[in-house]
């Protein structure tokens, strides 16, 4: 797949700190790309460079192979973390205005606004002032404003904050639908469970540097520790040089749970064979680290403890 966006050694410094020190990324077209990192890592700086709000000190951003320039604005949709709309403006007019600023014609915009408002079941609100809408509804309007001009690259900064679970689901479905229609989505978030659900690939930025990137599956495999989870009934006593019990718990009615790491040379089948001698096996599965765990592990390596808590 061709990359829709490439960042090549992007650097950005402000008066008192360095926001990005040589970040390079490749974002494949038609994927959902998670941009992860603790607060202040440089995510927003990178996004603002991609949206051309600010410029990089050095390095280059390429959009479909071309150096990023103002003509690309019409192909990018951006939902900032800090949401906002003109409060005293009617919903319909506001959407029309924002769409026109993104280069959409008046007639196209009007037709699409109708479709989207109907899709989000807020058609009857088109003539209302934004300030009369509930917060959730304002968020929907803002989401519509982001995607109305059918951008091929959509940047969503914490898209689920402020949504109740039902609407968050609605937005999630829309994101997936947009991806299926060929849009690429850059998705910046702290919420790791949504990353697992949605992202095809991720990049982790910490302290102005990219510390990790790749497809979600690859990264998870890379962080696997050959650890297995075992559940069964009976008495379980494991003393074998090939296996190391990381955790063992007695549960109700004589059930046992154990987390076991297999050392090099042995296989999961060896472990299972051994366990079968002691237990009536109910479950046996490989323990795959969650993105959350990987995040904390990688960020924690370079961060003091207190900040890790915040990040998780």
């Amino acid at each position: 797949m061709n990359p829709i966006l490439e960042a090549i050694d992007v650097r950005k410094a402000y008066a008192n700190h360095v926001a990005l020190s040589g970040v390079s990324l490749v974002i494949p077209e038609g994927s959902i790309f998670g941009l992860l990192g603790p607060n202040g890592a440089g995510k927003t700086s990178l996004i603002r460079i991609i949206t051309q709000i600010t410029g990089a000190d050095s390095g280059e951003i390429r959009f479909r192979g071309e150096r990023l320039n103002p003509s690309h604005i019409a192909q990018i949709g951006y939902l900032p973390e800090e949401r906002g709309l003109y409060k005293k403006m009617k919903v319909g007019e506001q959407l029309l205005y924002l769409a026109q600023l993104r280069g959409l014609s008046r007639t196209d915009a009007t037709a699409r606004i109708k479709q989207w408002l109907a899709r989000f079941e807020i058609k009857e609100w088109a003539g209302k002032n934004v300030e009369d809408l509930s917060k959730g509804m304002q968020q929907k309007v803002q989401f519509i404003a982001t995607v109305l001009h059918q951008p091929s690259l959509i940047i969503l900064d914490e898209p689920f904050s402020g949504f109740d679970p039902i609407n968050a689901n609605l937005i999630k479905d829309e994101i997936l639908a947009l991806r299926d229609q060929g849009s690429t989505i850059i998705f910046s978030t702290h919420r790791m469970e949504s990353v697992e659900e949605l992202c095809d690939s991720i990049a982790l930025i910490n302290k102005s540097r990219k510390v990790l990137d790749g497809s979600v599956t690859d990264i998870k495999n890379q962080f696997k520790t050959n650890t297995y989870e075992l559940e069964g009934r009976g008495r379980f006593m494991l003393t074998h040089p090939d296996f190391e019990v990381l955790e063992q718990k007695e549960r109700e009615n004589g059930y046992v749970y154990a987390r076991i790491q297999i050392h090099a040379g042995a296989t999961p089948n060896d472990l299972l064979r051994f366990a079968m001698t002691q237990l009536e096996i109910q479950a046996f599965r490989e323990r795959i680290p969650s993105i959350n765990e990987i995040f904390i592990r990688r960020v924690g390596e370079t961060m003091p403890e207190s900040l890790v808590e915040i990040a998780s």
Binding site: A15, R48, T51, Q52, I53, T54, G55, D57, I73, I76, Y78, P80, E82, R83, G84, L85, Y86, K87, K88, M89, Y97, L98, Q100, L101, R102, Q142, A145
Partner: protein, 461 residues
């Protein structure tokens, strides 16, 4: 470029469609013309003050006090001061004051004169009475010194001045009063509008910032486009408002007012120049109204200009109307653009409007100063003096100072030079403001200082 046009449209339409815009546009001319009429009526109704004179000095001062257009002296009730006072309080029609010359009053000891009244006596009224008393006493003194009345009359200088402006063509009459009133009105309009609409720009920017729409906006357009779009859109609002006011004031004062005031035509426009302040800029849109106006006060139809106007129109003819209107629009717009760019920079630098106060100070000071100083230098001083010249050249003061000078007539080269300087000033100020704006709109939660602002100017893109 079409994006900035979209922004201008939005800024313009959202403001013009507001109810408050309509209300102000309709009410302001009504209020102005209405208050003009009211002042005219009151002035013509009130006439000179009646002052009762109680004289215990035995000098027969009442005989010496001469009535003038402001004061009319009448004898107070005979008897003691208390009797006179009681009579004064009950007097009908009402008397303005009771003037008391005490028993000890003599030409050599002129102390102890009292002015009694209900409520405070205005300074103006006191002055009028004092002048009359001064005159009476000095005449008595001169008479006592043995000079004949003729000699006294001959000694007193009575000079009258007729001002003829040689720059004006054909030696037209040039009424200093109207010129001055015009200078006041034009400059206060410029001052007010720059201030009011400059603050609107500032508020608009800080609303965009605090409602957090800013980031979405500047991912679509350049910060400079957003700033200029807002400034120009609001300029459109101002011009629309001006246009409405002129048209309304003109039609009210030429059509409605004469119909209402068929009886006392002459008093309106002459007695109340303020009522016609806005109207007075209108003749360009109504050139036909001037021509027949100079004719005799015949009974005209209600639609035609009424005799009440002709004295005003004819003095306006003596003024450089073309350069006044053109100059007014140019210097107003130039001043507005320059100051509103600064206001936009302030709006971008602060998180909420309460913080804006400290930064508004240095912006409003030149505005206020140029108004106050200009009044002293131009209206009360020499409209073509060196200080007036420099005030009308510096871009920060020229919008007000030059507009104030316009009715007095300004040489063409000065208008051009000042205009060019204003444009240069506007470009320079906008450049600085845009650099602050660009950084400011994305700064949140930071207490901004002047030092900080000056750093922003040098941030790279």
């Amino acid at each position: 470029m079409d994006k900035i046009w979209l922004i201008i449209q939005r800024e313009y339409l959202t403001r013009v469609r507001k109810k408050s815009f309509l209300v102000i546009s309709l009410l302001a001319p009504l209020l102005m013309v209405g208050s003009g009429i009211a002042i005219g009526k009151l002035n013509s109704a009130s006439g000179p003050d009646t002052v009762a004179v109680h004289d215990e000095s035995g000098l027969n001062l009442l005989g010496q006090l001469q009535d003038n257009e402001d004061v009319h002296f009448v004898p107070a009730a005979a008897g003691s001061l208390a009797t006179a006072q009681a009579a004064f309080e009950k007097a009908k029609p009402k008397q303005a004051a009771l003037l008391n010359f005490p028993a000890g009053f003599a030409l050599d000891s002129t102390k102890g004169i009292q002015v009694l009244s209900k409520g405070n006596v205005s300074l103006n009224r006191q002055n009028n009475i004092r002048k009359a008393v001064n005159k009476a006493v000095s005449e008595l003194k001169m008479a006592r010194s043995g000079l004949k009345q003729e000699t006294i009359s001959n000694l007193q200088a009575r000079v009258e001045l007729t001002a003829i402006n040689l720059d004006e063509l054909g030696g037209k009459r040039n009424d200093v009063g109207v010129t001055t009133a015009m200078a006041y009105i034009l400059s206060i309009l410029v001052y007010m509008f720059i201030f009011i609409y400059g603050v609107q720009v500032m508020r608009g920017v800080s609303e965009e910032k605090s409602s957090r729409i800013m980031e979405v906006m500047i991912s679509s357009v350049k910060p400079f486009q957003l700033m200029m779009g807002k400034i120009l859109g609001i300029a459109g609002v101002v011009l629309t408002q001006f246009g409405l006011w002129m048209a309304l004031s003109w039609s009210i004062s030429t059509v409605v007012v004469p119909m209402l005031l068929k009886s006392d035509k002459p008093s309106i426009s002459t007695a109340a120049p303020s009522g016609h302040g806005v109207t007075s800029t209108a003749p360009a849109s109504a050139p036909s109204a001037q021509a027949p106006a100079a004719a005799a006060p015949a009974t005209a139809e209600a639609v035609a200009p009424r005799p009440g106007q002709f004295s005003l129109w004819s003095v306006l003819e003596g003024l450089p109307i073309g350069s006044i209107i053109g100059g007014f629009l140019f210097f107003f717009l130039g001043g507005y653009l320059l100051y509103s760019a600064l206001f936009a920079a302030i709006g971008s630098a602060v998180d909420d409007q309460t913080d804006a106060q400290q930064f508004m100070f240095p912006v409003t000071v030149p505005l206020i100063l140029s108004y106050v100083v200009s009044i002293n230098v131009i209206i009360n001083g020499d409209p073509n003096g060196p200080l007036a010249f420099w005030l009308s050249m510096i871009p920060f003061t020229s919008p007000i100072a030059m507009v104030m000078r316009l009715p007095f007539g300004v040489p063409g080269w000065q208008l051009l030079l000042s205009g060019a300087l204003l444009i240069a000033g506007f470009v320079g100020v906008t450049w600085v403001a845009a650099r602050i704006y660009r950084v400011g709109i994305l700064m949140y939660g930071k207490k901004v200082s002047y030092k900080e602002l000056s750093k922003w100017m040098f941030y790279k893109g």
